[in-house]
Symmetry: C2
Subunit: 358 residues, 2 copies
């Protein structure tokens, strides 16, 4: 696929959660048909997609049928099994490409990649056992944080080490999974850059958003973020460096810690990102459409925002607040169609438009 | 249904065209599931809805099954056969209600209703044959326009009468259908008000948009429209009068001619309206979501716009311009997923965001 896809073409999306759902809606807005591949029954994205395949990632026949039915494949999460990707890629282009997945699926690989680009990350060390953890703590010190190298999200697979006495418990929390110790960064706040790169190499960044977490889950993103002009420029330049190094096609979320010494890259996600949901009500072309535009080979939106926005996630019982939120002025509600509001489950978000004083 | 519907409830939509498609997307954004009822195969709305029933409006079994499967019924067009509505309404609430359909399905009824409210319309007369047309022309004069009383849209079922010699040809164009002669209004421009009324009677209007037509089809809507403060107020007040008189629930499009003598009501449409598409990129809550909010009994958005917008329809071969439009700054593309770009067919629209000079 070197030519741009035309409206009417089919976009395959791996994963049927809220990100797949919002990608699907954005694709339909550009006249594309969507096909969701998701192991779980009744996925949120299925309600708004044209076709849904319910099958496991090791179902070779289903993967082949899916790859044969779509014109390009993209995904809503980075932990797709390598074997599934091998089968799919033999028949259909996958965007963003495999290198982005390889790098971001493993925190060790990701950190090495980022440092290789000359970017600043937290100090880190590979942890396989108590001995390697002890050695790493002697070097990196506490407070620090132990994380599984793979499959972590929303604070899962993480254990804080406030002092060396916490080390054995933290290691036990990893349940034998290969892990990484990351040094604590003394940051004033966290921002993220939602950056996109198209098939012809052009790059467009949305304005950085400032993130606040609660219980390890993103709570709010506020745009504009508190950043100086030079920090803003640094954020864009480093995001561009990452995208170019990966020959990336699509939208990426880049989380950054803001410190007096400069920006520190926390992590990257090779997909649309929760901290970019504000773009739905702040930009002519949001992160979901931007991602679709990139993977189908269209021109990108320029990312300029037309209004300031505060995004707030609705987690679990926050769903009870929907009637009240619906009565709030300038508050755009986005719900994901999930049946059960479990604690810690992302059920939706709101984008509050912040009007100028004028 | 006196209580507000909760996310997860199912909204039935009669009609699977682009309006049904965009209503469906708006409903999903609020966590509702959608079910489209449409006689034609592969409707545009079907690609983004959860369930599609493909059946005729005289298929009683299909209508009953549909009414039994949804929690509220709404529609994207006003010409639904009365018999179908009777069957549906016995099992499920229809919003907006029957009175709005009765009034707007027939241009004679609509004109009488509007004049009964004390609103200004074009002079008009019921036309059944050449004699009644001659008598009406003697009264109303030329130029004037002959229209079928029912089933007209996008300039179809209309014939201009520039002078009395055009009368026989115009009458022949009506092919025996009951018709209405409307006097010509000397207007400077046309605007429309997209107004909404909720289940508790609250009313919210979007800013009036200024419409330009080409070949009888809406070409552009520009917001804000050229209107004085008092004209703006008149537009809102008369829209409110119409909605209240009908005990209306949902969004209505009210087309107005602007004349030196004041606003003249051209026509009303008991549904979301092409001239309200700009709200998708100009407001926190667009006309589609506003309509869904009304029919499910939620609070309405206040209709305030956050940016100026020019909406342009993409008709037929305009689809060839999509690559060029995709490279345009601040231009949001909305395509309808229609397979064939026939002349005169609405294929999509763009909303161009107009930024202030500041």
């Amino acid at each position: 696929m070197s030519e741009a896809l035309k409206p009417g073409a089919t976009i395959g999306i791996l994963g049927g959660g809220q990100l797949g759902r919002m990608l699907s809606v954005a694709a339909s807005r550009l006249g594309f048909v969507t096909h969701i591949y998701e192991p779980g029954a009744n996925p949120p994205a299925g309600q708004v997609a044209d076709v849904v395949t319910t099958a496991a990632y090791d179902d070779k026949a289903a993967l082949l049928a899916f790859a044969g039915a779509v014109d390009v494949i993209t995904y809503e999460f980075e932990n797709i099994p390598t074997e599934a990707l091998d089968i799919l890629e033999a028949h259909c282009p996958i965007r963003p490409g495999r290198e982005a997945l390889r790098v971001s699926q493993d925190r060790m690989t990701e950190k090495a990649f980022l440092q290789g680009l000359g970017l600043t990350t937290a100090p880190y060390a590979d942890i396989t056992d108590q001995a390697s953890l002890d050695a790493a703590l002697a070097e990196i010190g506490a407070p620090s944080i132990l994380k599984t190298r793979r499959f972590g999200y929303d604070g899962k697979g993480q254990a804080r080490i406030k002092s060396v006495e916490d080390a054995p418990g933290a290691l036990a929390d990893m349940a034998g999974a290969p892990s990484i110790l990351e040094g604590f960064i003394n940051f004033t706040h966290e921002v993220s850059v939602i950056a996109a790169r198209g098939t012809s190499g052009e790059i467009a960044c949305f304005d950085p958003g400032e993130n606040v977490h609660r219980d390890g889950i993103l709570h709010t993103t506020t745009v504009p973020a508190r950043l100086s002009g030079s920090q803003r420029m640094d954020a864009v330049l480093l995001a561009g460096k990452i995208l170019n190094a990966l020959d990336y096609v699509g939208v990426m979320g880049v989380e950054l810690f803001v410190t007096p010494q400069g920006l520190v890259v926390n992590e990257i996600a090779p997909r649309v990102h929760n901290s970019g949901h504000w773009t739905q009500n702040g930009c002519a072309i949001d992160q979901f459409e931007q991602h679709i535009r990139a993977v189908v080979g269209w021109a990108l939106g320029d990312g300029q925002r037309h209004t300031d926005v505060v995004m707030e996630n609705l987690i679990g019982a926050d769903m009870d607040r929907v009637p009240e939120l619906s009565r709030e002025k300038d508050c755009a509600i986005h719900l994901y169609g999930k049946a059960e509001a479990k604690p810690g489950r992302k059920m939706g978000h709101v984008n509050r438009i912040i009007r100028g004083e004028g």
